[in-house]
């Protein structure tokens, strides 16, 4: 069980979306993240730089075919921070409603009732 640890860097909705997307993947293309989050190149670059600076995200530029791709992935530090943050969010809900059941590692049951933030 991951210890709850609220992370101010991850919590803003755009960064939370980026980290949540990357947490579900081994790696993701820059364009995949950009398109799913409907962000501009510069907005995503800025957020990735912030996360990279904190050591949460690594950005690689592998050569695939004849094109160089930009791929982002969560580091072990980033994954631990994300899991701690999710645990902290669940703890907030459970402290307000102690009957809230544990419904999975990402709180799927709780999450399913809530509309996603942008």
């Amino acid at each position: 069980m991951t210890a709850p640890r609220f992370d101010e860097l991850i919590h803003p909705s755009t960064r939370l979306s980026i980290v949540a997307l990357l947490a579900a993947a081994d790696w993701s293309d820059f364009s995949f993240v950009r398109d799913r989050l409907d962000l501009s190149d510069s907005a995503l670059s800025k957020q990735l730089s912030t996360l990279e600076g904190a050591g949460y995200v690594a950005v690689d530029r592998p050569l695939v075919g004849r094109r160089r791709r930009v791929r982002a992935r969560l580091t072990a530090t980033g994954r631990a921070a994300f899991e701690g943050h999710v645990a902290a969010l669940r703890a907030v809900i459970e402290s307000a409603d102690p009957t809230a059941a544990d419904e999975g590692p990402t709180g799927r049951g709780e999450a399913a009732d809530a509309a996603p933030m942008r």
């Binding site: 609220f6 949540a20 947490a23 081994d26 993701s28 364009s31 999450a111 809530a114 996603p116």
Partner: protein
Amino acid sequence: MTPDISPTEARLALGTVEHRRQQVVDEIDMPRWYWWGLAVAWVALGVVVDLGNPVATTIVTLAFGAVHAAVAQRVLSGRHRTRGVSVRAELANRHIPALVIGYVLALGALTTALGFLAAADGAAHPTTMAGVVAGLALALGGPDLMAWARRRGAGGDA
């Protein structure tokens, strides 16, 4: 540290997390080209069998098996539908490879049965006909099979 956020805000944040996770889960699939490639190869194999040349049939069958084994190695997990993302292993239904292989083997048995039936009925090209039926089942049914596997639950048991 106790976060200074309300339960409502925490629920919204968890909703975001789940929504983004689901966007990645939605990528669990086989590439379309896999199903269409397999369907075309299946029909081609049927045509070669109907030509009645045992050497050609053996060579094409072995080539088919070798190419499929090489391709399937990469795509059979369902985690690499596109070059855009590699879905984490724990999110993909771990029974997907067995499901796909089982489907392909079942269609192999169906092709054989249909081929014998068509031959008994005096069809001119029984294996080609059976191959077309199986090919259509692959090209049209394969994506539905994967959609079913996704619905059965990411990381869950099929």
